[in-house]
Symmetry: C2
Subunit: 329 residues, 2 copies
Amino acid sequence: MKCRVCGQPASINLRSYKTALCDADFIAFFEKRVQTTINKYNLIVEGDVPIVAVSGGKDSLALWHLMNKLGIPCDGIYIDLGIEGYSETSLDKIKKAAEILKRKVYVFRIRSVLDCGVDGLAKAMRRMPCSACGMVKRYIMNKVCMDKGYNVLVTGHNLDDEASALLGNVLYWKKEYLWKKDISLEAKEGHLSRKVKPLFLCSERESAAYAIMNGIDYVYDECPFSMKAKSITYKGMLNTLEETSPGTKLMFVKGYLKTQKDVVKAGRVVGEVTGEDTRQTKYCVNCGYPSYTEKCLFCWTLEKFGIQNDVKFDEYGPYSIDSGHGVMT
Amino acid sequence: MKCRVCGQPASINLRSYKTALCDADFIAFFEKRVQTTINKYNLIVEGDVPIVAVSGGKDSLALWHLMNKLGIPCDGIYIDLGIEGYSETSLDKIKKAAEILKRKVYVFRIRSVLDCGVDGLAKAMRRMPCSACGMVKRYIMNKVCMDKGYNVLVTGHNLDDEASALLGNVLYWKKEYLWKKDISLEAKEGHLSRKVKPLFLCSERESAAYAIMNGIDYVYDECPFSMKAKSITYKGMLNTLEETSPGTKLMFVKGYLKTQKDVVKAGRVVGEVTGEDTRQTKYCVNCGYPSYTEKCLFCWTLEKFGIQNDVKFDEYGPYSIDSGHGVMT
């Protein structure tokens, strides 16, 4: 198979685009796609100060690399969930990336507040680990934006993540979730940062290829708690379809974005379609995070376990390259 | 495992209802569910003259049996698609059922109009067999209603059929199909009969069990042309989900029906949501069947192949039990 652009041997076959490319042309193709997505959906506009949520995996590290390469300087935020043998390895890869990119990374360690990891928290909350993890991540990632002056949180959710979450939402038609999924989520001034997903239309396989071709060192293993998640089943199903009908995931997600716009617009006129919450948005009396109750779930959880809400970030950055351990703020 | 109702050994485990039942109690349960569906969605109302579309498979034969048992007298319509080794076996089962039920069945033979079966027609039309088959079935089933005085066409589409078709529609978000799927489709007076699907909320496994427990003799094999259909892939995917999360298919289809109502209502107000065709509905100048073009696809196809549109039905019925071959009208 030859590269469609230069005629040299191709290194990746992109069946959903009916094309094959060599390393250099794939890198250019991938970067152009992400840049186009950013422009088309106004993900980053002039004056924005974005920060990338990094996990140590291929998507977020590829994205961090790419954003900076595209001339959109981004620091990073990492949440150490205290998962043995996983969280520390992830942090090592992230520190390495921060050094290469010469960018700062903020680190929040769950064990600096709780005396357990996210699995212990989940047990105490009687929730699944993914549910507790989501709660912590949403809160902390917003907090770093609010506290440190970033106005856009950039996440590495890829096409496979979005398609599988969308499939789950569609299977149960939960209107309060279904029509809210989007490539960018609006800010609530002073309370909630904007959230954007530049890899929304790029597959897992593509972001992995981009990371490998750029020599980005990332954690190969999936989070040990994600193994039982339904999203893995959904991803498997969608991959089966993709094999026989290349491009299915992309059409599914792009078609949704279009439908969602129509439905949300109609819902604003007639109501009742999107399950828009009619309760007035309130803010946590303790921390200011959006919450329908007096205290947000994060503050409520800490209080329940008698813990002081004293979230602090370690900062590792361009000035700490030689120490290898970063500098505490 | 014991029957939840009578405590005798259960013969079927219904995981999506968290129950197990013996033969007699399952039959009662299944009939009550179908009756409830008919009442809740006003599928059959007083004064209706329904006819069941029978294929010879478990769903349509179980439904035909059940409708008559529920006190809703129904004749049948069978379309012989001229598929060798399949169409004749199917007709045999249907004739047998007609005799048992003491009801009439109309038979249209594709070879009475064309000199080939549905596969030949598909080739000539350069379409997939399922596409040609759908065109013929929609036309002929409507025609028997119009010509013979039936106002409701009752089809045996089950939960698995509907869930898999819905999944296909949702994956591509084709708004012109997606929001049109429904448990009943309205009539166009004098042109199109109403269509209803009483098994919409009953799984394939349930209708097979009902047929077997009632000693209904049906064709086990699927149509040989359906093997390559995408619907088979979708059904497999949904069955995998059903295994780990019983009730998924039912929630998917019921959730859709609710969402569809909201979206269609909103679409009527603001437009643009459901892709409602704004072209005025016209009727075929030749046969009166609804068509956006001057001639409907059926008439156009016959004309293209130089064939006279001379659709006639054979009638087999209660008066022909002893002949075994029916009486031509």
